[in-house]
């Protein structure tokens, strides 16, 4: 599985690093850093928790083939 974290959306809430500490961490600026962009399938559940909890929709799991944003993005993709 491939994961991405969009630092321009991150609000440093920290859920990702708690949910999946081997996949996400935070930089000196408090914002998300991806430690492992292609975690093994055994991490899928924790990465899904991170994607679900991220309040600013910064985390995405790239599902095989299509690029899938978080299920609940909720609004047209016009966020700057």
């Amino acid at each position: 599985m491939k994961v991405t974290a969009d630092r321009s959306r991150c609000m440093a809430a920290g859920h990702c690093a708690i949910s999946a500490p081997d996949v996400f961490d935070h930089g000196e600026d408090g914002l998300v850093v991806v430690l492992d962009a292609e975690p093994g399938e055994e991490r899928r559940r924790e990465v899904e928790v991170a994607e679900d909890l991220c309040p600013s929709r910064a985390i995405a799991i790239l599902r095989s083939g299509a690029v899938g944003g978080p299920a609940e993005a909720g609004a047209p993709d016009t966020v700057g």
Binding site: R9, M11, A12, A13, G14, H15, A17, I18, S19, H26, E28, D29, G30, L31, R45, E46, V49, A50, D52, L53, P55, S56, R57, E72, A73, G74, A75, T78, V79, G80
Partner: protein
Amino acid sequence: MNAPSTTANEDLFAYPQDRACPWQPSPGYQDLGRQGPLHRVRLWDGRWIWMVTGHSQARRLLADPRMSADRSRDDFPSVLPRLDAPIFKPIAIIGFDPPVHDVHRRLLAPDFSLKQVRAMRPHVEDLARRLVADMLREGPPVDLVEAYALPIPSMVISELLGVPYDDHEFFEAKTVGLLQAKSAEDAERAGRELWDYLDGLITRKEHEPGGAGVLSRLASEVDEDGDLTREDLLRIALALLIGGHDTTSQMIALGVVTLLEHPDQLAALRADPGVLPAAVDELLRLVSITDVSGVRVATEDIEIDGEVIRAGEGVLVSSSMTNRDSGVFPRPYEFDVHRTRGGNAASGRQHLTFGFGIHQCLGQNLARMELEVAFSILFEGIPDLRLGVPLEALPTRSGGTMQGVHTMPIEW
């Protein structure tokens, strides 16, 4: 559009309503929640707004960039009279939309990060132990709010910001004055006193650069033509000072009440200290101390669940009710520290007590740490702690949204 004070509005559910139990939403909200996820409710000024009680609808709306948090807009709903005070209109970070919101929030992110909070923990533990020792020395009865629940977050935020703790009686009283004011005039008066105080403090920091705390650092970054003006800094200081201690202190107090009234859960927590982080999130979910996850105004028509929220209409997300959406939390009215047993380390964080979307609480990691420390050290130091008055006799706050107790007598 949102016509003021029509007869139709008079038939609507009047918001807010007081709780009957310190950790459960008002009985009226519970009735509403059973009727569906979205409701029209009437405010004090005769206007109506949407009240959201469904969890997925709340998350969708709070993450939607078409919802504005800009309190200076004419159509922004004022949920309580005090929110009409001019001082609240451009409240920093929480009351701004992107791009200004994101710029100011990122300026503060390093100071509130998980790493920073973890580094502060031993210091907060020492503080809590000192306060417990003082209470034991003084002997029962003690007011837990004054002796413990308030000093912890108050000292932590004053050290973090670089506000002298010696001034705590002043800034605590003015914060309560601001947050519990029954009129815009009273709120404005308390707010201006805090503003003038912070103005003087920041002037001192400008003259003595290199001091400790967030405000000293930011004072050196002020640039009238850049991202942080002096007025921005003052507004940020005010937001952090008032946001940082009242919520957390009342959560400590009502959290202790909830644990004392559920001896089986307190025993489960005592039996396994590893449960502490999950117990804190369960208490945050149940108590929903602010009762509200966020207030917004729609800037465009938004379709949701077969309803249309029109541009200009206000939306209030109820944390106490979205936190009881049975689709997300089975047996939602029950307090269960083992609720997420077997789940991921973060799976107890689905509650909306800290809001959702880009405004989700900046201080949440700090608050969680303070709560973990406060509960564990209190019950370790005073194992036979009990309420000094019957539950029904606790002097609880009323007439607003922010929950809490004026005092909380305890004995042992």
